[in-house]
Symmetry: C2
Amino acid sequence: MVPHLITALTGPINELEQRILESLPAIERWFRLEWMEHTPPFYTAVDVRNAGFKLAPVDTNLFPTGFNNLTVEMLPLSVQAAMAAIEKICPEAKNLLLIPQRRTRNTFYLSSLQRLMQIFHQAGLNVRLGTLDEDIEKPTDVALPDGSALTLEPLLRTKTRLGLKDFDPCTILLNDDLAAGVPPVLDNLHEQYLLPPLHAGWAVRRKSNHFRAYEEVAKKFAKLLGMDPWLINPMVVRCGEVDFGADGGRDALMAQTEALLGKIRRKYKEYGIQEKPFVIVKADAASSPLGLKTVRDVKDLADLSRCTRNLPDGQLTTDVILQEGVPTFERVNDAVAEPVVTMIDRYVVGGYYRVNAGRGIDENLDAPGASYVPLAFAESNQLPRHGAKPGASAPNRFYMYGVIARLAMVAASYELEATDPNAEVYE
Amino acid sequence: MVPHLITALTGPINELEQRILESLPAIERWFRLEWMEHTPPFYTAVDVRNAGFKLAPVDTNLFPTGFNNLTVEMLPLSVQAAMAAIEKICPEAKNLLLIPQRRTRNTFYLSSLQRLMQIFHQAGLNVRLGTLDEDIEKPTDVALPDGSALTLEPLLRTKTRLGLKDFDPCTILLNDDLAAGVPPVLDNLHEQYLLPPLHAGWAVRRKSNHFRAYEEVAKKFAKLLGMDPWLINPMVVRCGEVDFGADGGRDALMAQTEALLGKIRRKYKEYGIQEKPFVIVKADAASSPLGLKTVRDVKDLADLSRCTRNLPDGQLTTDVILQEGVPTFERVNDAVAEPVVTMIDRYVVGGYYRVNAGRGIDENLDAPGASYVPLAFAESNQLPRHGAKPGASAPNRFYMYGVIARLAMVAASYELEATDPNAEVYE
């Protein structure tokens, strides 16, 4: 089942779908050549928004969750992709240490973790869970909704290696996004593979770097297909540090927002789009407690208390980006939905919908407390159907989503290369 | 659906299944290490026979067909494996030239070919068909059961390259087993990848080489699992050239057969197996027209006319092997069945059953004219189910079949290395 797309069957996205299907061999070859030069992130989940007139990634998660939302039928794809990933990184590997999110008892998350363990077990590794939670001093079971349990074990750190009691892994897979900072136990591990690398965590990562890389990727790809990169690229402005407590800071933010709204307006005019433009104000680092704010008019910025109410007392400055708002016109029943595409190594292994009945088409759906109905892609993204009417076929739509998500993955790979603190510089 | 296994739920194979499941990470790691040293064949299909007391490959096809028998739901696995294969061989590739079996109008075969084209198209290549049939002098459509058509095009050979009109491929994929010999149009192609290599074809290949390599692989694997290699290895005796017209030739064959029957009898006694041993007399090269003969008693060899009636007039000698007969105790409804496991690159991408109501449990099921009911593996081999009772779970059975088939694939890789005419010799 594909969610109903309000703007279905006409407009630029259907032309894009048509072009993407016709160019399939060229697109796949383009990705092959990119992966000759760049290393894909170990795993990635990309939130994609389809506005009918535009299709763009809005968030690229390098510590993906939601593996429990993938259809069981498509799990062999994940296993096969995991086999390819392991083989590349450490074929001799016996043991994989998986480090989950700290202090979570969310059963959706635990189910995702269980699925991830299953994937890597079936790909041929002994998988155990080591927790960053220092309160856990001995192996501790946490219950799952299906009646089984996961065992969290305390980490054992030596001078050079990280492991568990009687468990020395070759590879350590992080599933915590390090928004709370890099725990010392993960520092200076040079003998083992730590994936994703520490600088992929939100202690270091910046959205502005990602979207700058994505813009470069979108331009290259748009050139290949002979199209306007704006159709797949959300415009992003990096504001740097904004002082929400000072009039000067707010005024500068308002001016930048007005400029971006103007750019969007011009694009909408060029394409005859009747929607009202909007901008999302975001913290540059996901670790900042700044709330996301949808701005349809700069006057909305006069009151920033909704944005800043989570900031610690006294802190009124944080790094900010402005992102062109991409409405989602997909709905599951009546609830607003957006696809999430999941990848392991360079392969799309599945996807699902994030659905939020309490939110509008121009709002963040990944909101705490909101109701959440995962809906797996029922058909594979790998089997586009030639000759189907554009916009009408789920496999074709999913193939297109997989292409856009992989562009964001290529961007993440550029981003991680550019921000690698250990990179050798050739100049 | 899994075919009913007559000997289900007890016996050595269920112990083997148990051990294979318990050893999953060690087994997958073992394969990873093998593939570090050896190159898998491009694609492979292995006929596996489950006797309840023994599970063994009986034929390893390096020019597989039957892709139409794989479930459509599992096709993404084939596409992903094909992507991995292409990326390794020739990431810059745009065009793939697929050379089908010569002069076939069999609609099962054509459907398999169509599926193969679909897989490689979706993996990102322009795929066209070049025919070895010299009667085809211009692009010619052949009709498919679904109403569509495939276009066969005449090959265009230059001094150094093979292609079609306006189509210069980087890689040439052979789907003809070359039993009729290597056509000159395929000779001396050093600028393009020709896969599988010519020496994988039956003009050169010998079953005795394959099973010698398989015995080595089976011994290594059995050592890993601490088991008797005979449980997965069919004993094979290479007789060399046998003169069926001479009493001496026949007597030698009878003596070798009697010796092999004796060895099987001793193994059956060791395991308390009540079956009657049998031996299959086969030509060493599949290109020989010698018929397969099931021999339960050496006296059966007194009349060899059934074996030799297809040999050309006057020819009474051919290279022969004797293979320990492995009965198949799987049945679909009442018809005897054997699984066929299909692989692309190092990955199991699916399987199906060959079913033949007209044949016995100790006979060749891949017989011309016999009725033939393909039955796809309904569940993936990549998701074994922990804790299921041995012998009772389809995913567990299929995982085990996938392991045995991959052992035969490793053997084919050893075999192709040992028989490579261009190999450098390090001594």
